[in-house]
């Protein structure tokens, strides 16, 4: 890639991941939970990262924030955070102190389990206040006012009183709102939402996603939405990346991906969503087989054992094919 292209890319995307490899040392040997993952996350939009459990979505997100714990390790790769025209940060080479200032401040993350992601011994207010004082140097009273403001903003009624609630006094949806308030309290440039609605029931799911969407419109922040639910992706994300067994297998804008999926895996995922409007199509189509174990991956395409369109060429390693903005890792696409 020439330098000209880099600049062009940077001006458009907030986060650029290049060839990220994160390994875990297990008893069966070393596995790569994220294997040569590259992606760019556009500014001011919701980007979705889709895949089933264990495909490396969360590992990729945690690697970006350098929160991978032993026995995991980021082996190689570059992550570039572009704050504005002048300022970019290379996250993999930052020292620990500078990285700490990125977390929560520039890139915030909210997690899947709102029930356990809040510290049970502090009030929700104190936890938001901590985030604010940590990065913005406000004094306690100012931070408290800000916390109330953030809680109001994420739609918590009676925020003035709720700020003194302990997490166990709140419902799951409320807690996820608190998590979002905490994540947003320092006005991060990028919010990584790791399955923010998985643990919530459907009506609350919609509210939370609606809220994130509204905040994107209002503040212009960028969101990386990690999910396994293609249904929610369709309504909110503008760009989708599909991950399978540690690799990105397809990337496109949402409309293209839904209308013309290239990779058989994406096609299979879309076919397995029950349709509300369509005529009776008989049984739901499931993808046959199971996800291969990361310790025992087939050579070549990782989806080959479950693929109907498998050919000889699938046995050799497969590179990404580009068709404009549509990227896919398949030699025999739809």
């Amino acid at each position: 890639m020439t330098s000209g292209e880099v600049i062009k890319n940077n001006s458009m995307s907030i986060l650029e991941i290049k060839n990220l490899r994160t390994s875990f040392q297990t008893k069966q040997g070393k596995i790569y939970a994220a294997d040569n993952v590259s992606m760019s996350i556009p500014r001011g939009k919701i980007t979705a990262l889709v895949g089933e459990s264990g495909c490396g979505k969360s590992v990729t997100a945690m690697s970006v924030l350098r929160l991978i714990q032993k026995p995991g390790k980021v082996e190689s790769g570059a992550v570039t955070l572009t704050l504005d025209e002048q300022k970019t940060l290379e996250l993999m080479t930052l020292d620990d102190e500078a990285m700490r200032k990125v977390r929560g401040n520039k890139i915030a993350m909210i997690f899947q389990e709102p029930m356990t992601s809040l510290n049970p011994v502090y009030t929700v207010g104190d936890q938001i206040i901590e985030a604010i004082t940590l990065h913005q140097g406000l004094d306690y009273n100012a931070a408290r006012d800000k916390a109330v403001e953030m809680l109001t903003r994420v739609g918590i009624p009676n925020a003035k009183e709720r700020v003194d609630n302990y997490p166990h006094e709140m419902s799951g949806g409320m807690r996820q709102r608190v998590m979002i308030a905490m994540g947003l309290s320092c006005h991060p440039d990028l919010l990584i939402a790791d399955e923010p609605t998985t643990a919530l029931d459907v009506t609350i799911q919609a509210q939370i996603l609606e809220l994130i969407n509204k905040l994107v419109q209002e503040t212009g922040m960028s969101v990386l939405l990690i999910t396994h639910d293609l249904g929610i992706v369709a309504s909110y994300a503008e760009k989708v990346m599909v991950m399978y067994a540690g690799q990105i297998v397809e990337e496109a804008d949402t409309m293209t991906l839904y209308k013309k999926p290239k990779h058989p895996y994406t096609k299979g995922l879309l076919a397995s969503i029950p349709s509300m409007t369509g005529k009776k199509e008989g049984r739901l189509k499931a993808i046959p087989g199971v996800v291969p174990s990361l310790t025992d991956l087939p050579k070549g395409c990782r989806f080959q054992d479950r693929c109907e369109r498998k050919t000889e060429a699938c046995l050799a390693p497969i590179d990404i094919t580009c068709e404009g903005d549509h990227l896919f890792r398949c030699v025999n696409p739809h």
Binding site: R103, A108, F111, E130, M179
Partner: protein
């Protein structure tokens, strides 16, 4: 929406049992008693009026403030005799004797209306010495435990949070220290240094931290991968912040239980040491030390043995009751 913090719920559960209430009240009562010792047992009166001059001689013995209320003119005054003398108005303390005030005319007197718990072999009032002795016993208990809880928490937190080889080294160290029979180790150390109350606190402190360290280590192992810890890390909280602000408060409840039992056992160790003559040195009064005196007069002065023995028994029982109650309240399986 009812507002009920976890602490409040736990406390209510604790308060339900009558035994817990008794233990708790006894402990609190003991603390107040020990703190007010100079006002309960003192040969100086609260209030003294003579020839129009009013004074409050007891204030001389108030911890730090005492220096502002010196009354050198009362050096050799015996206020107990003045009480019934016309022209003097005296309001005495409930136990109108000082713990160090000896009177060789009144040795080994049995309990009576003047000496509530009798006198010892030098004619000192046992009740006064018991009251002052509670200060020694409780302060040894609290200071020694505070010291080893601090050591134990820091060492246990480091081992549990970082794991790996740091944990291996610390765990082996804990096992080594645990292998020493603590009481004899303390005896051996005291044999080389001159015993004093502060040294006893320090020696108990540096030999007893292992239990706490193991508890805290276990809790940290359990908590360090919890979602809220990851979430704090993702917010950019520093490592010390994670350890002490986010994990430690969640790891403290079992430590709290251990603290109450620890105070009881430290009081016991101090009493045992003093009984053997290695602890608090005369003339300072401590329960163990009064017991130690009683050995020589076992057949003629039962009061020297009964009162301190009973006080030690009651105090340790009370602390253990509180500890038991706290453990039951915290343990989710019992509620």
């Amino acid at each position: 929406m009812k507002k009920k913090s976890l602490k409040k719920i736990l406390f209510e559960q604790f308060w339900e049992s009558r035994l817990n209430r008794v233990g708790f009240c006894f402990v609190v009562g003991m603390l107040i008693f020990a703190l007010l010792a100079p006002f309960i047992a003192n040969n100086k009166p609260y209030y003294y009026k003579h020839e129009g001059k009013t004074s409050y001689p007891i204030l001389e013995d108030v911890y730090v403030l005492g220096q502002y209320f010196k009354h050198p003119e009362f050096m050799n005054t015996n206020f107990r005799d003045l009480k019934n003398t016309p022209g003097h108005t005296v309001v005495l303390a409930p136990v109108p004797y000082s713990p160090y005030e000896y009177n060789l005319d009144e040795i080994l007197l049995p309990p009576s209306a003047t000496h509530y718990m009798g006198t010892d072999d030098q004619g000192r009032d046992v009740a006064a010495r018991m009251i002052y002795g509670s200060q020694i016993s409780l302060s040894v208990g609290f200071v020694a435990v505070a010291l080893y809880v601090l050591i134990g928490i820091i060492i246990g937190a480091i081992a549990g949070y970082f794991g790996g080889w740091i944990d291996i080294v610390i765990s082996r160290l804990i096992e080594i220290v645990m292998c020493f029979p603590t009481f004899f180790l303390i005896l051996a150390i005291i044999a080389f240094i001159e015993p004093s109350i502060y040294k006893i606190m320090i020696v108990i402190g540096i030999t007893s931290w292992t239990g706490i360290a193991r508890l805290v280590r276990g809790e940290f192992f359990k908590l360090r991968d919890q979602d809220f810890v990851t979430s704090a890390r993702a917010l950019g909280v520093s490592t010390p912040g994670i350890i002490f602000k986010h994990i430690l408060p969640n790891a403290l409840s079992p430590v709290l239980v251990s603290i109450t039992f620890g105070i009881a056992s430290s009081i016991m160790v101090e009493s045992s040491l003093s009984f053997l003559g290695f602890g608090v040195q005369p003339p300072t009064a401590s329960w163990g030390q009064i017991l130690s005196q009683s050995r020589d007069y076992m057949d003629i002065a039962w009061w020297l043995m009964a009162f301190p023995g009973f006080a030690i028994f009651l105090t340790i029982t009370a602390f253990n009751l509180v500890g038991d109650g706290m453990r039951d309240a915290i343990d989710p399986r019992t509620s």
